[in-house]
């Protein structure tokens, strides 16, 4: 949703930007000519006294702006990924040391057939296995990169740890 950002010049002082929030409040940002920024928050748009005012100098404002804009964390990408996967999720699963599957191939373990979980890669030292194939062998210390539905994971964890014993 595009935000209706209103710009007003304050002659001799600077520039004012104002926009309304979905929550019913409004924010006004004043850029002073000397670089100072003031952020006014009105809890309700028609309040005539701000509920809070934050004053920042130029450096602080730039830092905060970068953080708010997502320069450090990238929530946008995470969001995209979640969207593309839909119900699916990607899990990094370390193989427990007690697992009975060491030495068997992925095809023999039948994670996909029995649990609906697909192993797409294996992280191991010194070289990770990208694009895991059915004939790749599970080794001690492996971490499996898997794709599956959230509901299928509990059963998968049990089977990875104990093998077919409780079937």
């Amino acid at each position: 949703m595009p935000i209706d950002l209103r710009e007003t010049r304050l002659p001799g002082i600077g520039v004012k930007y104002g926009f309304r929030l979905d929550s019913g409040g409004r924010i006004a940002l004043i850029l002073h000519n000397d670089g100072k920024r003031e952020l006014y928050w009105f809890k309700r748009a028609d309040n005539d006294e701000p509920s809070a005012v934050i004053t920042l100098d130029d450096d602080e404002a730039r830092e905060l702006g970068a953080v708010l804009g997502g320069a450090y964390e990238r929530p946008k990408i995470v969001e995209d990924l979640e969207m593309a996967l839909g119900e699916l999720q990607i899990e990094w699963v370390p193989v427990p040391d007690t697992s009975p599957w060491f030495g068997t191939t992925l095809a023999e373990a039948q994670f996909r057939a029995k649990n609906g979980i697909t192993v797409i890669a294996i992280l191991r030292e010194p070289e990770p296995v990208t694009g895991a194939q059915p004939h790749d062998v599970i080794q001690r210390g492996d971490t499996l990169v898997t794709v599956g539905k959230a509901g299928q994971y509990p059963a998968f964890y049990r089977r990875l740890e104990r093998g077919n014993s409780d079937e």
């Binding site: 010049r9 304050l10 002659p11 002082i13 003031e38 701000p50």
Partner: protein, 393 residues
């Protein structure tokens, strides 16, 4: 004024300004008060500083720097961009307050040039105090701040013109006309220079080494002031136009930065020196003018802006807040009185009266104005209860 006196004065001004700041008041009335107390006129208990050529010279420099800075803000682009608030709000503010001011002026001085000056002094609010209040009391985010600033710009524009003839005009009709023509010509030339010469000026100033940059700008500003003075316009007017010429150049920011401290020191001294010449004893003669002017100001600024605000689409509360911000009078009122004190067309008694009036009037309105402004939101909520909020944007 000796060096020791100057040191004492500047220190005192700094201290007083700080105290005023503590109470959220503008420093301008504090400087005036200091001058009033230390000056040779009543009250005499603290009469320590005599006005002299030195104090006058310092005051001249103060005016020059004050107006030069004001001129720097007057960019052509900004003026053509200023919205309907400036035209409509400015016109209503002018009609109401200059009209009421003229009424007081004529009542005080009859049909005299001094009446016109009194009208202008009552008409023009203080940009410095209003802007400081808007920042201090956190009003910048409010919609009505646009209205306040627009009206201030309109007032400053009209006053720029008044400054042109305040110190020279008033004696004979054709003499006055000549001065008005000269003032208009000067403004036109300055605007033309700021539009077409800014590139050349930029190149020259850029090319100058650091220390000569300062000298060149001071030379230009004081030169313009001197030329205006020669033309029987005022030095204030010349300095203002010097600012206008430089307002479109790219070195404007640098000039502002480097002259800021100059301006503050000399402006403080200017208000102080003006305070020296205020004679409180004159209150016998100007007392009723003063009382009338204060009442007219309260009614005119609040009422006029309420009207202007309603026409401009603001709520009554917002318009009231805007009007209260315009009550304080300051720099322009004082400058006008100072210029008139040099005008031979006005009798000496009236000059003294105008000076005393301006000083006391600024002291009173700036104090009332700031106190009311601080409380204006509470007041406006009382005066205009809730339903009007529905119209609020």
């Amino acid at each position: 004024m000796t060096l020791a006196e100057l040191a004492l004065t500047v220190t005192l001004l700094g201290g007083l300004g700080l105290v005023a700041n503590r109470f959220g008041l503008s420093a301008i009335p504090a400087y005036l008060l200091a001058g009033l107390l230390l000056g040779p006129n009543d009250p005499k208990q603290l009469a320590l500083v005599e006005p002299s050529e030195v104090t006058e010279f310092v005051a001249d420099l103060g005016i020059v720097f004050l107006l030069f800075f004001l001129g720097l803000e007057f960019t052509l682009g900004r003026l053509t961009r200023s919205q309907r608030h400036a035209v409509l709000g400015g016109a209503i503010d002018f009609a109401v307050n200059a009209g009421l001011g003229l009424l007081i002026g004529v009542a005080a001085f009859g049909f005299d040039f001094a009446a016109l000056i009194l009208a202008a002094a009552i008409y023009v609010s203080s940009s410095a105090i209003a802007v400081k209040g808007l920042i201090d009391f956190r009003r910048l985010a409010d919609d009505e701040t646009d209205l306040v600033l627009a009206i201030l710009i309109a007032e400053d524009l009209i006053l720029a013109f008044v400054l042109g003839f305040a110190s020279g005009a008033g004696a004979e009709v054709d003499e006055t006309l000549t001065i008005v023509v000269k003032a208009v010509g000067f403004i036109a030339l300055a605007l033309a220079a700021s539009k077409w010469l800014s590139y050349v000026i930029d190149r020259v100033l850029d090319w100058l080494p650091h220390e000569f940059f300062l000298l060149a700008v001071v030379g230009f500003v004081v030169g313009m002031a001197a030329i205006a003075d020669e033309l029987a316009l005022s030095e204030a007017f010349g300095a203002l136009m010097a600012g206008v010429v430089l307002s479109e150049t790219s070195v404007r920011g640098e000039i502002e930065e480097r002259f800021f401290s100059f301006r503050d020191v000399f402006a403080a001294l200017f208000f102080f020196v003006f305070g020296l010449s205020i004679d409180v004893a004159a209150i016998d003669e100007v007392g009723w003018i003063l009382a009338g002017a204060v009442v007219v100001t309260l009614v005119g600024k609040i009422g006029g802006t309420l009207w202007a605000g309603r026409v401009g689409g603001f709520t009554p509360r917002q318009s009231f807040n805007a009007g209260v911000a315009l009550i304080a009078h300051g720099e322009f009122t004082v400058i006008l009185a100072q210029l008139v004190a040099e005008n031979p067309a006005i009798s000496e008694t009236r000059q003294t009266q105008l000076v005393a009036f301006a000083g006391l009037y600024v002291l009173i309105t700036s104090t009332i104005g700031v106190v009311l402004m601080k409380e204006s939101k509470v007041l406006s909520r009382r005066l205009f209860p809730a339903p009007t909020l529905a119209e609020g944007r």
